[in-house]
Amino acid sequence: MDKRENILFSDTFAVKDMDKGGKKFDRISRLDGRSQTHDMSLILDVNTELYPVEAGDKFKLTLSSSLSLGDSKEPAAFRKGEANWRAYVNGDERSLADDYDYVMFGRVYRYDNASGSKVSAFVSFGGLLMCLEGDIRHLQNFIVGDTIYLLMRKI
């Protein structure tokens, strides 16, 4: 896992299934993913019009609290969570987003009991949901109510 402090979670996932319960929306698909290294499962709504995903795809998923690259030269704006996107959109500064193809911004809003020591964290990206389920140790960096970035890159 990445050691930079703004990276909350990073792993490679394989897409097991797309739209398991039937396709309900034209431009949004719900993917079921399975982590490659940690024993994690993922449910994620993806805008497939912008970023097509198919079953069998593998991608790297990173969750971070900011788009900072972690080096000291970066603009100060990147260090603060919510203001990041303006710096990214406006400037041509290098940011974490440059390494990824698909970036979303949202909020952790709920922790729920899964089975036993497993926990699921719910994150909403403006209505697109992510449910990340796994051991509490991997999910300890999330705090309910905090904003986070989701970054995806296909491998």
């Binding site: 919510e82 996107w85 987003a97 979303m104 009991n113 909403s124 949901l129 705090i143």
Partner: protein, 1065 residues
């Protein structure tokens, strides 16, 4: 247009005026108005000079002169202008929301216009409705109208506190479409939409886009987020978790595939869509309702304004229309529908064939024909339901009627189904179309045909068009609806009038009792807890703990020390002992609150244990030890703090509170603490804020002294009855047990009718098994001789003519009747009217001979014939009134059996062996009164009425019904809400004369020289006085004359102030 505005046409505004007194501040403005005169809009019609004198009409000739001569103290009757308070009303004024205060907005053209959200309380639509507008003429009246009758003060109905003003129709559709998961906007479009919510007068914080790369995109849900809370600094945080209309049960509600579970955190939509259930009226889970209770009516109204504005602008751009293409079924839909109908027809044919063969097993309590009819109806109504489900499945997601049905803005699944697939079975007065011709409904069908199409099943859809026979069936059932509507308006209208007349004087006094105008106590405390249904947050509860706790969790300051479970319970116990809780709240409510907090503490303890932390459910030893040392160390410095409790308890609490969970947890793994924190975090400030919020909300929902609880109660009961369909029968478990429901039943109850259409006694059984229930049933149900006789023969022999009755002992055994031949003989001998007496003899084991002895022997034959007809109807066993009875199994799954007996037989049923008389009651109020007493009758009145309203899905607060029950029973007998009952409740002649039989009451009063105290509402209105309810309860003891302007008084520190002046002050 805001929801509290009404557009007043200019020509109306020129006629309606407000008398404004001239002051130094408004003289210039009023002068300009006077100059403009009556014909141009912002003008004035009359001027009344300060000293009196004639009112001057501002014809052209006098305008200039009057304007010049305008002095302070004159009164100018100026035209209505924007912002004036006006009262707006639509008949029928069935409840208090039928007249509300709006803010006027003068506009061109000739119609009154207002925000669509406000249609619901007026029950208005725009198909030619007419409404009335009144202008309060004094400042006091304006203030009172604005504060009490204002639209924003009446967002919820006093019936049960549900919101009645909410988004309707297009607004709901817009909210639904906009919050769909796949709706994304780029920056320009997003900002455009956000701007559409406001009038270019608001500062808005742009939220970060939810998709940053590859393009910056904002979701539709974020638009609503901004709508709810435009700036991050705004205090308006809405927190809701509620299922929407499209929610279907899934293990994790958030992950509902249709996005049907709405979660709003601090005014940001986390997941879920908006639809009727969360932005419409009539649900307490609505966004506006949460805003209303957490942030006040102004905030809720502002939200609605914004949604209305956004909706109008968004849908104008987006477009939403319906066309033939929307109702054209696809090939697959057609095929599946045809299959469905063919299948149902086949099943019906099969059933008919079975019944012809006599192979159809009859349902309990039905004969063969009824059984057939019931089963066929079941099959056919199922067709419509499954066709509806089929439509929802098969139609595209962009189908306009489907969208409207899904989000609840207009129409239902069955409406869509009728247009697209199949109109379904036509029901006329509760059954399939009746035979209008000999043995058939129409001459197009064979006689005695029971087939679906012959009895009113319409297989076509409105799109394909109806066949002639289908058309006439449809028209017939359509006409029934019209007739019903016409009949019920008159009936319920009269009921409403009687209710209001009986209730109008009841109000809450300062001692929280409910009394009538004569001061007679009807309730010692309104509703038993002095809570106003209008203010209740939950269903019949003042505070929703779960909702408020969630709200506090999300809004409270994240700082502060975390509390351990034992500390939570301590804080709660201490707080609940505070005077603000003890004094103002009921013990029951306090118990509920402490239970909630205990559950919270227990939940936290459980979580902590699950993640390997010490639970601290009990006070740990070191904290207790601290407390001990602390208490001994603390000298009795505060000698004055004498409490009933010894100081150790409080001291223990104090030191227990100073014990820190954070310190105790310091050595535990971080992830465990984090995860517990994420799931449930309780801090002292949060807990305090929660308790404060709860008590504040509780106190706010107490009923104010002076509230006209009577009038409100009467309206709350009467108004929903107008919405019930008139003729309705309900099947209580078994098809044979008809219990009349709906308006006729309500009428029976409130009339306190002696005879009711379906009296049923519900009996509890001592032994809960079917066989003993059968025996009890046999004991109580009346048995006729005809039912147990194998045959009744006329015997003509040389010596005697008589009737021989052969009793079927097998049947008696089968029915488990406790019946001997002697008992039968006795029953026949004592049969009323037949005067058989000793003319009946037992012959053998199972025969009875009944002789006749007519006075005139020539009439012997006819007497025998008469007797032969009468004999089978003799009740030989059971309670004569108990015509039928049925054993019912309770529906809650407990398997509890009960016995329902038709007829007025409460006393007999209660005293029958095997029946638990303590839990046996009748639905006939008067029987309950006779055998169980007045309190039982009151309870039954309340219970019966509330079950009716429940069945119709009408939420009605129990407090209104309790008031009705008390009013009907407070005299010690059950008084109906009729002219006789009301006359017994109230002595005032004028009030009775204003109700019914005016002349009778007046003549009586004249003859007996009656006095009227003029205390009630009707009397005061007749006499032109202020009525003693609401703001009219208290009086100003000082005499004052409003037309004399106050004399200027010298102030204490004016330079010329002298001793004398001070003395006069």
């Amino acid at each position: 247009m805001r929801i509290d505005e009404v557009a007043v046409p200019e020509r109306v505004a020129r006629v309606l005026t407000y008398p404004e007194r001239v002051t130094e501040h408004n003289i210039e403005r009023l002068r300009a108005l006077v100059q403009r005169g009556p014909d141009t809009h912002p003008g004035a019609n009359y001027v009344q000079a300060a000293g009196g004198g004639p009112k001057r009409f501002l014809i052209r000739a006098v305008r200039e002169q009057t304007a010049r001569g305008l002095r302070v103290g004159d009164v100018v009757e100026r035209h209505l202008h924007d912002g004036d308070v006006v009262l707006f009303n639509r008949q029928p004024s069935l409840h208090r929301l039928s007249i509300m205060a709006h803010s006027a907005r003068v506009m061109p053209w000739r119609t009154f216009r207002f925000n669509e959200c406000v249609c619901a309380p007026y029950n208005a639509d725009f198909d030619g409705d007419e409404m009335n507008l009144h202008v309060p003429q004094t400042e006091e009246a304006r203030v009172e109208a604005r504060e009490l009758l204002g639209v924003t003060r009446n967002l919820v109905t006093p019936r049960n506190g549900e919101p009645i003003i909410g988004a309707t129709q297009d607004f709901v559709t817009t909210a639904f479409l906009l919050t769909q998961k796949e709706r994304f906007y780029d920056r320009a479009a997003f900002v455009q939409l956000v701007a559409a919510c406001f009038d270019a007068d608001a500062h808005v914080d742009l939220p970060p886009p939810c998709i940053v790369k590859p393009r910056c995109l904002w979701s539709g849900k974020q638009v609503v987020g901004v709508l709810l809370r435009p700036r991050r600094t705004d205090p308006l945080c809405v927190n809701i978790e509620a299922p929407t209309k499209s929610y279907r049960r899934v293990p994790v509600p958030d992950l509902c595939p249709r996005d049907g579970f709405l979660v709003i955190r601090n005014s940001e939509i986390m997941c879920g869509i908006l639809d009727k259930a969360v932005v419409g009226d009539g649900k307490k889970t609505s966004v506006f309702f949460a805003a209303l209770h957490d942030h006040g009516p102004t905030a809720a109204a502002a939200l609605m304004n914004r949604l209305a504005k956004l909706s109008a602008r968004w849908s104008a751009n987006h477009g939403f229309s319906i066309g033939l293409s929307d109702v054209t079924p696809g090939a697959r839909l057609c095929a599946r529908k045809d299959d469905l109908i063919a299948d149902a027809y086949a099943r019906c044919d099969e059933l008919i064939a079975q019944s012809r063969r006599g192979a159809l097993e009859t349902l309990p309590g039905c004969d063969a024909a009824e059984t057939l009819e019931n089963t066929i109806s079941g099959v056919l109504s199922q067709v419509r339901d499954s066709a509806g489900a089929l439509c929802m499945e098969e139609l595209g997601r962009y189908n306009a009627p489907l969208i409207m049905a899904t989000c609840g803005s207009k129409g239902s699944t069955s409406n869509v189904c009728q247009m697209v697939a199949c109109v379904g079975q036509q029901i006329i007065s509760g059954c399939r179309v009746r035979d209008g011709f000999t043995d058939r409904s129409l001459p197009h069908f064979p006689k005695r045909s029971r087939s679906p199409e012959a009895k009113g099943f319409v297989a076509s859809s409105f799109f394909t068009g109806l066949s002639p026979t289908e058309f006439i069936f449809h028209a017939a059932s359509g006409r029934e609806g019209l007739v019903d509507a016409a009949v019920k308006t008159a009936e319920t209208g009269y009921m409403q009038r009687r209710l209001v007349k009986a209730f109008e004087d009841l109000r809450v006094h300062y001692d929280s009792s409910v009394r009538n105008s004569a001061g007679t106590v009807v309730q010692f405390e309104y509703g038993g807890d002095s809570l106003d249904p209008y203010c209740l947050e939950g269903d019949a509860r003042p505070v929703l703990f779960v909702h408020n706790w969630r709200h506090i969790c999300n809004t409270a300051d994240p700082g502060g020390n975390r509390l351990a479970p034992f500390q939570i319970t301590r804080v709660a116990a201490a707080a609940l002992a505070e005077p603000r809780f003890v004094r103002w709240t009921t013990a029951h409510w306090r118990a509920e609150l402490s239970e909630f907090l205990a559950a919270l503490a227990a939940g936290l303890a459980k979580l902590r244990t699950a993640y390997g932390l010490v639970s601290y459910a009990e006070c740990p030893a070191e904290a207790a030890a601290d407390a001990k040392t602390g208490s001994t160390a603390r000298p009795k410095a505060r000698g004055r703090r004498v409490r009933a409790q010894p100081s150790t308890a409080t001291d223990l609490d104090i030191s227990a509170m100073s014990w820190s969970l954070d310190a105790a947890d310091a050595n535990t793994p971080l992830f465990a603490r984090r995860v517990v924190d994420n799931k449930l975090r309780v801090t002292r400030p949060m807990l305090d804020a929660f308790l404060d919020l709860c008590i504040r909300k509780y106190q706010r929902s107490r009923v104010d002294p002076g509230t006209a609880v009577g009038a409100i109660g009467a309206q709350s009961i009467g108004e929903p009855t107008t919405q019930m369909t008139l003729k309705a029968f309900h099947f209580a478990g078994v098809a044979s047990m008809n219990v009349s429901m709906g308006v006729p039943r309500i009428k029976e109850i409130i009339n306190a009718a002696k005879k009711i259409s379906t009296p049923v006694v519900s009996c509890a059984l001592l032994n809960n098994n079917v066989s003993s229930a059968r025996i009890v049933k046999g004991r109580i149900e009346r048995t006729l001789l005809g039912e147990i006789a194998r045959c009744i023969e006329e015997v003509y022999s040389a010596t005697a003519c008589y009737l021989s009755v052969e009793i079927d002992m097998e049947v008696i055994n089968l029915l488990q009747l406790e019946l001997s031949m002697a008992a039968i003989r006795e029953a026949i001998a004592n049969a009323p009217k037949l005067k058989i007496g000793s003319n009946v003899h037992i012959r053998g084991t199972n025969c009875l001979d009944v002789f006749v002895s007519p006075k005139d022997p020539s009439q012997l034959y006819y007497a025998l014939q008469t007797l032969k007809r009468a004999l089978p109807l003799i009740v030989v066993h059971g309670v004569p009134e108990a015509h039928r009875s049925a054993i019912l199994q309770s529906e809650d799954g407990s398997g509890q059996l009960s016995l329902s007996v038709e007829g007025y037989s409460l006393r007999e049923a209660m005293t029958t062996d095997g029946i638990d008389g303590r839990h046996t009651f009748s639905n006939h109020i008067m029987d309950n009164l006779r055998f169980l007493g007045i309190e039982a009758a009151r309870t039954m009145t309340i219970r019966e009425l509330s079950s009716i309203f429940d069945k119709y899905g009408i939420g009605l607060d129990i407090r209104h019904l309790m008031l009705l029950g008390d009013l009907m029973s407070y005299k010690g007998e059950i008084l109906g809400i009729t002219r006789y009952g009301i006359a017994k409740m109230n002595d005032s002649v004028m009030m009775l004369a204003s109700f019914e039989k005016t002349t009778d009451h007046l003549f009586d009063a004249a003859v007996f020289g009656k006095r009227d105290m003029v205390h009630g509402v009707s009397e005061r209105i007749i006499m032109g006085q202020q009525m003693p309810v609401g703001t009219g309860v208290f009086k100003l003891l000082m005499d004052y004359d409003r037309d004399v302007p106050p004399t200027p008084r010298k102030l204490l520190f004016d330079e010329s102030s002298s001793r004398k002046a001070v003395a006069t002050i």
